[in-house]
């Protein structure tokens, strides 16, 4: 071979190996570049709009109702003593006082001591609305032009993981407390390069498994795999081939037929567990958040997902009931403690190999509104004031330093958009996510802020 020809061919080979992506057996493009520090991540959206005053600062009634009573009502997550007076946040006490009996702690060691706490994080951009906050949490981007009934415009962490880490559809799950507030739209974006084909599976379990699902799903017919499902599938393939040859086809999550059947089996399993009273609900389950966490434990046990995002929202009752807000906050902490304990004690495949991150989607106003509740306490909205931009982030698990606090009230560290690169780092695809260039400018892994 002549020298010129050799150089030309060698150059073309090198260029094509750089320019042309190749498919790995998992179906993804290129090799994952980072090392995962945990096999699983659970992100709890401690959502509904939480004030720093009643959470991180443990001020109870002192900075809201003008009463000099402080204390920690989130003792599964935070260190500090509970309030001693005007207890309204628990369950009904023996003497009939509503909320008068605090719920027992589940964790012997609060999560704060088991992991790293960023007590002052900022929701830095845009309005502090629920959907905007949730969308930012899962996409790492403040969707300032985001429509309320549209999917996120930038890819979600689910899509990054499926595309760049090669996860299958049932490896990533989003559990919502309901179907309102566009929550069902958060399992994937409308981004042309990602989208439904890389999306997460989703349940709003209090709908799927309770009244509506009980009537229209429970006891659905299970077809025999060989004698019934196989011919059904053959006929459907024929019908679809004819139709799709002419351009028809619906967007889907790319669950394989096997995964779909597994999801169906899980649905019936949950109904069976419910009938036998065997769902691992938190000890106190009296609102949608605690119920959602109970169903999430079943999901984790069944699928052992790589990433699970679970949303809570009952705290938002604070718009018209401060007492209800305290009760919901106390239960959200109870639910987080239960979830962490369940993972460590009931799911051997995930115990010791799961990182959990907890973050509210946004904060709440400093000044109250005019609504009084049954205790004559004022309620609070979230109108994008400085206080409603104050949130916290807590994380625990392998590779996460224990008993570490990063930042303070005078030195805020971290941003709501940091969660996506943080999860990406834990699961080993940080460089792919960062180089996609679709995150909020300045968003970075919380590990890089320590």
């Amino acid at each position: 071979m002549k020298r010129r020809s050799f150089i030309k061919k060698a150059g073309l080979t090198a260029a094509s190996s750089i320019a042309a992506p190749y498919l790995l057996p998992s179906g993804r493009l290129f090799a994952q570049t980072g090392m995962a520090t945990a096999g699983h991540v659970v992100l709890v959206l401690f959502a509904g709009g939480v004030r720093q005053q009643e959470s991180m600062l443990k001020r109870y009634l002192a900075e809201s109702q003008g009463l000099d009573i402080e204390g920690n009502i989130m003792y599964n997550m935070l260190t500090g003593d509970a309030p001693e007076l005007k207890i309204v946040y628990g369950i009904e006490s023996a003497d009939g006082q509503p909320g008068g009996e605090p719920i027992d702690a589940i964790l012997e060691t609060p999560l704060q001591l088991q992991g790293t706490l960023f007590p002052e994080v900022r929701y830095s951009t845009g309005g502090t609305g629920h959907y905007a906050g949730l969308s930012t949490s899962v996409s790492g981007h403040y969707g300032l032009t985001q429509g309320l009934q549209d999917r996120p415009l930038r890819p979600t962490i689910f899509e990054y993981l499926r595309r760049h880490a090669g996860y299958k559809a049932t490896d990533v799950w989003f559990m919502g407390t309901g179907t309102g507030n566009s929550v069902p739209l958060l399992n994937h974006s409308a981004n042309a390069n990602y989208g439904a084909q890389y999306g997460a599976n989703f349940f709003a379990p209090t709908v799927t498994f309770e009244r509506e699902g009980g009537e229209f799903l429970n006891g659905f017919k299970t077809y025999h795999p060989d004698e019934e499902l196989d011919p059904i599938e053959k006929m459907r393939v024929f019908l679809n081939q004819n139709f799709m040859a002419q351009g028809g086809g619906i967007p889907n999550l790319n669950n394989t037929e096997e995964e779909k059947e597994n999801i169906k089996a899980f649905i019936q399993h949950v109904f069976d567990q419910l009938e036998n009273d065997q769902i691992a609900f938190p000890p106190v389950t009296d609102n949608q958040d605690t119920a959602t966490i109970g169903y999430t434990t079943e999901l984790l046990k069944w699928f052992k997902p790589k990433l699970t995002v679970v949303n809570m929202s009952a705290i938002d009752v604070c718009h018209d009931s401060y007492t209800g807000y305290l009760q919901s906050l106390h239960r959200a902490d109870h639910a987080v403690g239960h979830l962490w304990k369940f993972i460590q004690e009931q799911i051997p495949e995930m115990a010791g190999d799961t990182a959990m991150i907890v973050m509210p989607e946004h904060g709440r106003n400093y000044e109250h509104n005019a609504v009084l509740d049954q205790n004559d306490w004022f309620a609070f909205d979230h109108d994008s004031d400085a206080n409603s931009r104050r949130i916290f982030t807590m994380m625990a698990g392998p590779g996460i330093e224990a008993n570490l606090m990063v930042g303070s009230q005078g030195n805020p560290i971290g941003d709501a958009a940091d969660i996506v690169p943080t999860i990406a780092e834990i699961l080993g695809i940080k460089s792919e996510v960062m180089s996609a260039g679709l995150l909020h400018p300045g968003a970075m892994s919380l590990f890089d802020r320590i």
């Binding site: 559809a169 509506e212 028809g248």
Partner: protein, 162 residues
Amino acid sequence: MRFTQKYFILFFSLLCLFSCKEESYIYEVNDLTIESNNSNKGKEKTPSQYLNILYANLYQKPLSPNKLVDLINLVNSIGDKQVAYETIIAKMMTDPDIQIPSKSSMNADIDAFVTETYKRFYVRIPTEAEKTYFVNFIQSHPNIGPEHIYFSFATSNEYYFY
């Protein structure tokens, strides 16, 4: 001469009258309306449309507004819509009120059953290739019945479009 001329004019007139009449040939083939085999369905049904039509197709009666609201909420609570619809249909298949032909009536006239199924679910008649496929499939799979065929149609891509 005038007599000959008259006859010539009469002959020419008759020739003009009948010479343009079109001949009609019958080749023993029935008339057929030609349509594309997806009937130009290009719009995806909303969950509300899908559920209303599904219920009407399976129960032969309309869905009540309250049930529709609950079913839409249920579909929205499950991320994979195909899983959602398939489980809802599988539940409907356990309902004694569902209107499905018996297996014996299907086997009595498979041709008619296939045509009726296409009309019921796809609002069109099957192509000859489609009809042949299903007739052969039903004859070679004695274990399957109308329920399985309805399930396939109701969960196929064409049924999600209108």
